[in-house]
């Protein structure tokens, strides 16, 4: 899901760089007001885990793999604003240390995975939490479904960026269809991994998950 340099033109990349920087600033301000002592190491651990999981590409169809984006996982575990920062840390380390994701494309990637994936996916998670019955397994189920949805959402981010500043003379419809079709399938893996990890955390330490009522916390 990491866009390399050159696929989206420089002007558009710079514009999304500015959007990413603005989003980062807003997320810092919001995190400053909401983060508690425990969430500092928790957010660092979440970033490390998302980095690790992104190293594991799983096969999807012949000749194509997918990997966790981790936006919903991070947003559910530490909150949406801190979740956006977690994904940004992962993307910056990947771009600077592992040459994964272009340097000029960093803003594009932060917007797709950090803003659309984490915060957009978190909105879906909140809606599901409200709609689904309040049972012990609901947090993991809602996180899994939201994670599934977040992948085609993030893919749409790329399609919009391509529509604005794509450097190739390829039909937008073809890119849209291909991105959606492949990322719905990758989303299944995202949903399964996110559901399992959130479920494991809910089993061992439900009290660290934001928005989980104390009653649910002592039940397990």
């Amino acid at each position: 899901m990491h866009i390399p340099d050159g696929v989206i033109n420089a002007t558009t990349s710079a514009g999304f760089g500015a959007v990413a920087a603005g989003g980062f600033g807003l997320a810092v301000r919001r995190t400053r007001d909401t983060l508690n002592d425990r969430q500092v190491p928790m957010a660092a651990l979440t970033a490390a885990f998302v980095f690790a999981a992104q190293m594991v590409n799983f096969p999807v169809i012949a000749g194509m793999s997918g990997h966790l984006l981790g936006g919903v996982l991070a947003a559910v575990l530490v909150g949406p604003a801190a979740g956006m920062l977690v994904i940004t840390v992962v993307l910056v380390v990947q771009a600077l240390v592992f040459a994964d994701g272009g340097l000029t494309a960093l803003g594009l990637n932060i917007v797709n995975m950090g803003v659309v994936g984490a915060i957009g996916g978190y909105v879906v998670y909140r809606v599901l939490r409200r709609v689904l019955p309040d049972r012990p397994g609901t947090v993991a189920t809602a996180a899994g479904i939201a994670a599934f949805v977040s992948v085609p959402l993030a893919a749409m981010g790329f399609v919009i960026q391509f529509a604005i500043g794509g450097t190739a003379d390829v039909s937008l419809g073809a890119v849209l269809t291909a991105m959606l079709g492949t990322h719905v399938l990758i989303g299944i893996g995202e949903g399964v991994i996110t559901g399992l990890v959130v479920g494991a955390v809910m089993t061992s330490r439900p009290d660290v998950v934001p928005g989980v009522r104390p009653r649910a916390a002592v039940e397990v």
């Binding site: 983060l35 002592d37 425990r38 793999s65 990997h67 380390v93 240390v97 040459a99 450097t167 291909a178």
Partner: protein, 105 residues
């Protein structure tokens, strides 16, 4: 700090789990292109992509070619990546949190 012992244990187990995923599970990762790269190739505009500006650095492409042994390359990339991400993340969130404390006093 209100970080109790059992929470510390949770953090240690979580960190070890991340290391296990990055160093061991990652050895079994698919080397096929991911969804976006697949689409860019399939739609015929992979030529638009420029080589990464840091493609010649030691751990570029997750250490590929770093030691000449791909399992070892992945191990080094996993160890370094998880550690660096945890440290950078901890530093950033400590900084953000620290500013909060400054404001509160």
């Amino acid at each position: 700090m209100t970080v109790d012992r059992s929470f510390r244990r949770f953090l240690v187990v979580g960190f070890l789990a991340a290391m296990l995923v990055a160093v061991v599970v990652s050895q079994f990762a698919s080397s096929d292109p991911d969804g976006l790269e697949y689409v860019v190739e399939d739609e015929g505009f992979i030529d638009q992509a420029r080589e990464h500006d840091l493609a010649d650095t030691a751990l570029a492409d997750y250490g590929d070619g770093f030691t000449g042994n791909s399992a070892l390359d992945t191990t080094v990339a996993g160890l370094v990546g998880v550690t660096v991400t945890a440290v950078v993340g901890w530093g950033l969130f400590r900084l953000v949190r620290h500013r909060h404390l400054d404001r509160a006093t």
